[in-house]
Each structure stands twice: as structure tokens, then as C-alpha cells.
Subunit: 159 residues, 2 copies
């Protein structure tokens, strides 16, 4: 497992789909993950400290966890199967027991950001799909960049 | 407060936006609410007992509540302000205390369906925006009907 951070939200020019760039904290490599538009907006708003006038699904999720005395210990991207990334949310309940919940990466990341939880990627997943990060030098989060990274090349790796 | 049920998912022909039709259980009247596409899909799948290959946000929310020993007592559409509906989720925690969480109607309904919780509408909200239900006679849920209901007339009421 290696710790990661959300480095950028890109737009795949081929289909206008949002892509999240998850960068290894201790190298210059990153891994792109395609996500839905609603989830991308939820992640972008939180990263920019902006708020939607009404609670989004992940804001509600945060409220539920806090009110029920839970805590998100960490989230992890754990597997890549047939082009789909799998994630796990490690939820600590009041008595200290940790429950592992199967989740999509987008929900896991949107929730981790709101709960201040670290993000991890399993080594075998990262090794199989990481690329040199286009924003390795930048400190700040890059939001919705129209970046002409070779995403089509990357898609071939996934298949 | 009156108990309601999700009667149909319509498509507003003007902007292709999904509209949920919330019917009073004890009359032939219903209230349309415009919601996002992601939330509409989440509601439609649950109503049709179909499942997305990966957990959607509301499936994850259900898992979180169950694992933390919570229960959704009910959800309610509580207010209508400047064309926006407000909802409240009544969450019971382990010790029995009930917490009221501010939420969007779409999240509340998607969650209520998954938790088997009743749906209510505040009388003043229902009275101000209910119309005669186009599907009052039908028993089954109507999914994504292209119905030429006069939604533009309804929008005027909201304004």
C-alpha cells in the first residue's frame, strides 16, 4: 500500500468524462481513474473549499457517520478488474471495531476528503497502471484541467 | 404530515431533466420534484429491484448506517423555498436518540427506499404544490415515462 493524494481533475477529451489523477505521495507517478460527473463535482467542490447550497450525497454521508459515532480510518483502492477500480472504506465504529466496506473509488475519495482520512493504493494496482504525473511539480490541486495527456494510451493498458 | 410513495419517474421534455412524482398515499394527488440524473438512476434501480454492478452512493450509505447500528425512522419533505424542496432524514442511533439531518429530497428518497423507511410530506408543502396525479389508477411504479404532463404550468406555481 502506498499513500496517495488527489492531484487533478482532468477532462478526457474523447468522451468529456471526468478523470481523477491520484498521485503517489512519495514519487512522481500518478494513476488516472474515470469517474461520474456528479462524483467529480462533489470532489472538486470539497477540494476547492466551495459548497453547494444544499448537502450533496457525500456531505450527508459525513453527517451520518459523525452522528452515529463512526470514523473513516482510511480508504484504499484495492483492485483493478476488467477496467474497473475497486475500493474499500475502512470504517471504525464506536467500540473501535473496523468494518471494511466495498465501494467505488469516487465515493471513497469524496468521503475521505470530507472526513480528513488518508487515501491508499494497493501496490499491485498502482504498479500496473501508474504513469508519470503531469503535475508532479505543482503544489496546488489542478481543477478540471483540459489536459491533453495521452489517456487513450492509458486506456490500452487497462484492457 | 401525510405519507407518500414514489409513483413515477418522468422526464421533463423541456430540459430532459428527471422528475420524481411523489403521490399522497391517501388521495389522488401528487407532487413532482426535479432531481439530478445520478440520483434518478439510483432511485429507479432500487424501485425496479435492479442493481448496478458496483455499490452506488446510496447503497454505500445504507451499508454505513447498518454497520454503525443506525436506522432511518422516516424521511420527510419539509419545506419549499424559492423553488427548492428541503428534506429531513430522521436517523435513529443505537441508543434510540433521533437525529434530524438536513438533506436533499433525492438523497432522502433513495435512502428511504433502501432502508424500507416511510416517506412523508409536510401538509403546507403538499398543499402548495400538489397536482392531480396522472397515475392515480395505476398500481405499479412507472419508470422514466415520457409523460406530457403540464410541467411548465407546475413550474409557474413554484415561482
Amino acid at each position: 500500500m502506498r499513500e496517495a493524494e488527489i492531484k487533478a481533475l482532468l477532462v478526457d477529451p474523447v468522451n468529456n468524462a471526468p478523470v481523477i489523477l491520484l498521485k503517489d505521495k512519495h514519487s512522481t507517478k500518478a494513476m488516472p481513474i474515470w469517474i461520474g460527473e456528479t462524483e467529480a463535482m462533489s470532489i472538486a467542490l470539497e477540494l476547492q473549499n466551495q459548497y453547494f447550497p444544499r448537502p450533496l450525497s457525500h456531505d450527508l454521508m459525513k453527517g451520518i457517520i459523525n452522528h452515529l459515532g463512526g470514523k473513516v480510518e482510511k480508504v484504499a483502492i484495492t483492485a483493478l478488474k476488467e477496467g474497473t477500480y475497486y475500493a474499500t472504506i475502512f470504517l471504525r465504529e464506536k467500540k473501535g471495531e473496523i468494518i471494511e466496506l466495498d465501494a467505488r473509488p469516487s465515493d471513497s475519495l469524496a468521503l475521505a476528503l470530507r472526513m480528513g482520512s488518508p487515501i491508499y493504493i494497493a501496490d499491485e494496482v498502482f504498479d500496473s497502471s501508474a504513469i508519470e504525473s503531469p503535475f508532479a511539480e505543482e503544489d496546488a490541486f489542478q481543477d478540471f484541467v483540459e489536459y491533453n495527456m495521452d489517456l487513450s494510451e492509458f486506456k490500452k493498458i487497462l484492457k
